[in-house]
Structures are given as C-alpha cells and as structure tokens.
Point group: C2
Chain length 458, copies 2
Amino acid sequence: MAIDAVLTRIDEALPHALDRLMTLLRIPSISTDPAFKDDCLAAAQWLVNELTDIGFSAQLRPTPGHPMVTATTPGDGPKLLFYGHYDVQPVDPLDLWNTPPFEPQLQDTPKGKVIRGRGASDDKGQLMTFIEACRAYKDVNGQLPPNLLIFLEGEEESGSPSLVPFMKEHAAELTSSLALICDTSMVSPGVPSISGSLRGMLKEEFTLMGPKIDLHSGHYGGPGLNPLREISKLIASLHDDTGRVTITGFYDGVHEVPAQQLEQWKTCGFNEAEYLNSVGFTKAHGETGYSTLEQQWARPTVEINGLWGGYQGAGSKTVIPAQAHCKITCRLVGEQDPAHIRTQLREHLEARLPEDAALRWDTSLPGAKAAFMDTSRPEFEAARQALSDEWKRDAVIVGMGGSIPIAGYFKDILGMDSMLIGFAHDDDAIHSPNEKYNVESFHKGTRSWARILEALTH
Amino acid sequence: MAIDAVLTRIDEALPHALDRLMTLLRIPSISTDPAFKDDCLAAAQWLVNELTDIGFSAQLRPTPGHPMVTATTPGDGPKLLFYGHYDVQPVDPLDLWNTPPFEPQLQDTPKGKVIRGRGASDDKGQLMTFIEACRAYKDVNGQLPPNLLIFLEGEEESGSPSLVPFMKEHAAELTSSLALICDTSMVSPGVPSISGSLRGMLKEEFTLMGPKIDLHSGHYGGPGLNPLREISKLIASLHDDTGRVTITGFYDGVHEVPAQQLEQWKTCGFNEAEYLNSVGFTKAHGETGYSTLEQQWARPTVEINGLWGGYQGAGSKTVIPAQAHCKITCRLVGEQDPAHIRTQLREHLEARLPEDAALRWDTSLPGAKAAFMDTSRPEFEAARQALSDEWKRDAVIVGMGGSIPIAGYFKDILGMDSMLIGFAHDDDAIHSPNEKYNVESFHKGTRSWARILEALTH
C-alpha cells in the first residue's frame, strides 16, 4: 500500500524534517511587536521557498500587515484547505527561559525527546507536520495530493487584523470543501483529539487616567486619587466570590453543557489532577460548580493579561502615578456576541469610575464568536479512523479552551466547515517561557496527516 | 547692619549661585538605582569641594551605601546642625519630561522664573539655599557662622539605610542644640511655613505567586488562578467605600485633630481648590469627613506606588502570568507604630490569599513614626520673625504630609529637636516629570536662611 511507503518515508526522513523545523524556529517572527516585522516577512518567504521546493505553486501575498502564504496543487476532487500560522508569541519574561527562545534545541526529557524554542508547538511545529506529510507523499507518489490549498497567516498572535479583509477579497480562491487546522492540543498525551468547539475571543486594553501628572504620595497621599487603587477596584469588580463574571448580560447566549456530553468528557482520557498539578494548582479556580473541563471548554472568562502603572524599578518611589494600564481578554462560548460583551464590559467599568478619573480605550479589534464544528460530516469519521490507526487508541471529539477565530471566519465568510486536529501537549508551555513540542507529536503528527490525506483524497 | 550687607551680597551673587546649583543638578544622583552609584559619589564629592572652598572643614564620610557629607565651622555658642540630601528620585516616566531631567534650565513661566530639572526642588535646590546663605555670610563677615555642622546624606529617596547606623556611631559628633532641615514646602506660594509635624512612613513590596509558569489563557483561562486578578482583589480590600483603611488595628494611635488647630489650618493661607485643581481633582479623594489638609497632614494612608505583572508590550498576549508585583507605602500619623502596621498589613493580605497562591515579601527596611516638633522653643519664634521679615507676611506653623524620617531619628537617637523650614511650592512636581524650583524660592530662601542664621547665632 502506498500509505505504508509514505509512512516509512516519514520515518526515514525525520532528522531532515526536524532540521527544517529548526531553521523556521530560528526566525523570530513575533507579530505583535513592530520591531520584528522583517522577521515575519522572512518566515513567510522561507515557507514560500520550501513549499515551492516540494512542488506547490506557492506565493507570498502582501497585506497591510504581515503577508499571507498560499500554496496550491492541481487536481480534481473536493478542494481541501490547510490553515496554520507562522507568527509566534512574544518571549518575555526572557529571564525565565533556560535556553535562548530563538535558538531551538533537541532535548531529552523524562517524558521523551522535545524540540525547545518559541513557536516549537504554536504553531510552527504543528503546521510543519502537514507540510512534511505532503513532502513524503510527493516523494513516494511522485506528485502532491490533489486540489490542496495551504493558507498560512502571520498575524494569528496579534488578532489577525488583515485576515478578514483578505478572505473577503479572495473568497472564491479560498473557499474549499473543508478547512484543516493544526493549532490545537491532544486532550491527554497519546490520545488523538479532534476539536468539536473553540471558545471565541474579545480583546480590550484601557488606560485609567487620574491626576494630570505623577504626584508625590507625601503631598497627595490622602486627598489624591490613586489610579493603581482605582484600577484594582475595577478589576476586582469583574467577578463575584464564586468566580462568576458580574458584567450585566455577560452570560447571554451561554448554555449549560448537556449531561450526555459531560459524560463523554469524563471518559475522554483527560487527567484533571495532572493538568492542574503540573502548573501548581490543587484545584480548579474558575466558577464554583463547574469541572475543570467545563471551565476550560464551555464557560466564558474575563482574564487580565497585563496590568501596570507606577514605579517598577529597584528600590522604591513614593509616587501616585497619573495613569494605570490593563490588558484584558474574554473567552466566549455559546452564542455570546463579542460586540455586545465589549459594550457591556465598557459600561461596567465606566459606571464604577470615581470622579476625576477617566478611561481611555486603547483597542479597536473586532472579537470572534465561539465556533462549533459539524462533526457529522463524513471527513470527521475518516479522520477519526486514520488517527485511531496511527495512535493505536480511539480518537475523541473534545472541546477547546483556546480561540482560533479563523474557524469562525471560515464559516461566516466562506461558508466552510473546519476540522481541527492538533498534536500539542498541555505542558508545551505555548505563550510561556521554554515552549516545546514533543518529537513524538511532530513525528506521529506528520504520519497522522499522511493517513488523513490518504483517506480524504482517495 | 551686617545682615543688610549679607542680603545685598545674596542679591548680587544670585547668577553665580544659580550656576552652582545647575552644576549640582547635572549630576544624576539617583540613589535607588545601583546604576547611578558613581553619580551619587560625584554629587557628594562636589559638595565637599564647594563647602571646602567656602571655608568649611568638609569631609566625605563613607557608608555601606552612598556617602555622607559633613562640614563644620569653629566657634562657640549653641551648635546648629543643618540637614539636607543630595540624592534625587528616579526620572521615569522619561517620555513625560519636556526637557532632559539632568540638563537643568532656567525657564520663564506665567508664575515666574523657574529652575527645571530633577532635584531642582527636592532637595538640591533647597539645600543649596542654606549653603549659599553661609557663603554670603562669609563674604561679608570674613568668617562663617560659628559652630555649624552641615550634614548631608545621599540615601533619603531610598529609605536611608545607612543613616541610623551612622548616627549611632557618630552620635557625639552630630548631637547639636537644634537641627535645621530644608526639605519641605510652603503651605501656599509666598506664605513662609515652619513644619510642626511630619507623617511617618512604612514601605512594603511584595510578589504574589500563582502558577509555576506563565499560562496560556485559552488553556487555563477558567480553571487557572490569575495573579493579576488576585493582586487586584488584595489591593481593593485595603480600603472601604469611605476611603478608610480596613487593616485591623491600623488606626491605633491615630488622634483626631483638636478643633483649635483645625481653625488655625483654615486661616493658614492654604488654597484647597487650587491645590486640588492644579493636578486635575475637583474634590479630595481621601477619607470621607476630613478636609484636604487633614487628609494630608493628620490622616494615615496606604498607597500603591507600583503595580505590575503580565504583558505590557505592544499588542496583546493571551497570558496568565505566574506572578504579580506591588509596591506600597503607608504614611503614618500620631503614635502609629510602623512595625505593628507592617505585621497587620501582612496579616491582612495573607488572610485574603486564595489557595495555590503565596506572597513573597520583598522589603525589610524599618519604617519611621510620625514626628512632632517642639514649636515652643525660642528658636522657632526667632525663625518666625526672620521669615516674616523676609516674606512680608506672617510665617505659619503647618503640618506636613511628607515623611522626613530624619526628624524622628534626630529626636530618638540624638535627643535633638528639629526645625523644618522649606521654600518649595506644591506644584514643584517633586518625584514627577518636569520637577522645578522657583527662582524666588531659591533667592528668598537663601535670604531667609541668612536672616535665621543671624538671629540664631547672635
């Protein structure tokens, strides 16, 4: 069988595939920071070159931000789109990295060999599993799988501002029968997982402005309004003692998880204690009465991602600062509407401002609703079978706590379903210092895509 | 009269005195930041050289931190000590300065000519008023005032860690009949003010530690404990809705201001509306039921001076950070005991920590109790008369919201009273960007000290 030859080819070529991934990981393509604009371009260009080498018809596609990469193969049959992103998260706090984030390394760990470096898992390692599967397919079959479109963006970690305009402009070119997305994790190591839902996302950033200038806390300590105290009160007001969000109307469109689905989640191989203990928690800290998986997959959140103001240097400074700053993200579920949540969040905070203080809203990105996959499509059953064959364990349909707005955009703008299959581990430390990707994930991930491509294109 | 000749000499030599101040202001002697250690030494050495030039017997006195400067004159009569500090506050946020902080400039403003730069007021400009008065006195009289001891430190803005050990070691040398301190402001422009009390100070800094590593808010948003949310709740818990501090026992030793004193404060020339409006406030934001002056001079505070954690860069990062940080200062009044307040503050915060979080206390400096001056001493009446003569307006005894722990140390360690006379304005922006000192404060401040020296040494 051709698939066996392809799998063997993947096994033999693994060292070369790892070398190529390392090369991509050395490019610091941090999309949120303008200082790395040229690096984002370099990563995109490297991918165009690689895809062209393999035999794709690949192009760098300019946008007002970082470029897209598209690559196609000729052929008949249902068109399949593969999506990934070549940009990565910022690396701070840099002093917590044990190795330089953009000098990737292969390391032996008690849990097996890993690739260490920023983007190793999210999403360079994951997207390369698909590209390497295509390469092996071509090596064995002499041609690439038919009617493929690889579509890679470089702004996923900064809210994808160019994505929707690009999709609208190139709708006919992009619309396919199904989108494959490799940017998610397995519910437990070794348990192949297909995501049935993703949480949505809303980002907000604001500055609380108090006195006109920084004040001396000896002179104004007492009569002076302190923005750091006021911003703390605002943040503290966002949740009640049970962890429930207090914003009016926040839970509009949030549904309880059906009992049957909760039962399935209990048997999906998720190790709650290990998931929590691995990062230092003895219990789930979200809404009282919900399990860890419900809190992660089916409940909305308001999280503070950054908070700062006043003096942060060595020693002390007796200052009442003029301003305080906060970065917030909300994870959305069900039919929660990001525009509505934004309005309600802003009203909630504005209503609690004291006299002589004002808020400046520093963001204007649109949010993304939660996304739900049509798991009844035959491709899902084919993929489940392919994954189960590869991992020698039944693949499961799981929820996902992360937000991959692209799935919602594909559905809303192109009318296209998505199938999300990823091989990351929960301890990959994506978005954190010392990010890694297990070599097993990379290797068996590549083999998984080869099996799925075989199943979907024959 | 000799005093008239001294005053004339001060008037004539003003341009040279300003030049000397500018030279001192160009030295970035930021004591809290170890990067400026050599600059602190340079400032101290510059003062030793100047004082030696004038005729003092001046010395650089090493400490484990930044050096002290001492300078003496021979002679009989009651020994007078003058205290000031040559170190300055950090300059951040640097982007809010209109001119470089260590390139001082003379500027014309609607309220008169000012010296602009870090330390112009606090405390280089103020301490130089005394030194320039001594210089003019010498120029006219051929010798310096008798039995003076100038004592300057370089750690006032960083908690004076070397001060108490130095005072204890050199108690006999330092003990004088009275300490003169020039580090305070006038209650209103043109109203000469002698401080009758100072608030005490306690500094705390802590880190709230949550997860073992930074987490992805998609994966752990919900079940994950967020240190930024938790630190906000801790800070919000420190005050009730009336602005009263909620720490158990915090108000032990705090007394209400006697009605008679409140009456005096009402007529001391303080312009409450201008004081608040000048920095953007329409009202006093401290404890309900207390006037601005009570909140500033007679009520204790818990202020947040720095707060930070998570991502602060451009764009967004969907992180739940492992840690959050906070710098706190308390201003103390009455008999409040800083050691007791520290214990109670820490207990208050520890008791409100959720499971899986811990606090690390990052400070260990001793605090300082509030200080009260013995205004019944005859030197106070003599100084009041001298100040009233100079400013053509009755000098007033006022409270002070700031903390100058040295006054308490002088009393507790050396049994010595202090007299605090300063010429700063409330809008000098000390500890803030664009710090300034009015040339009138510098000029008439120098003249004031000449008059006071004349009154106290004859």
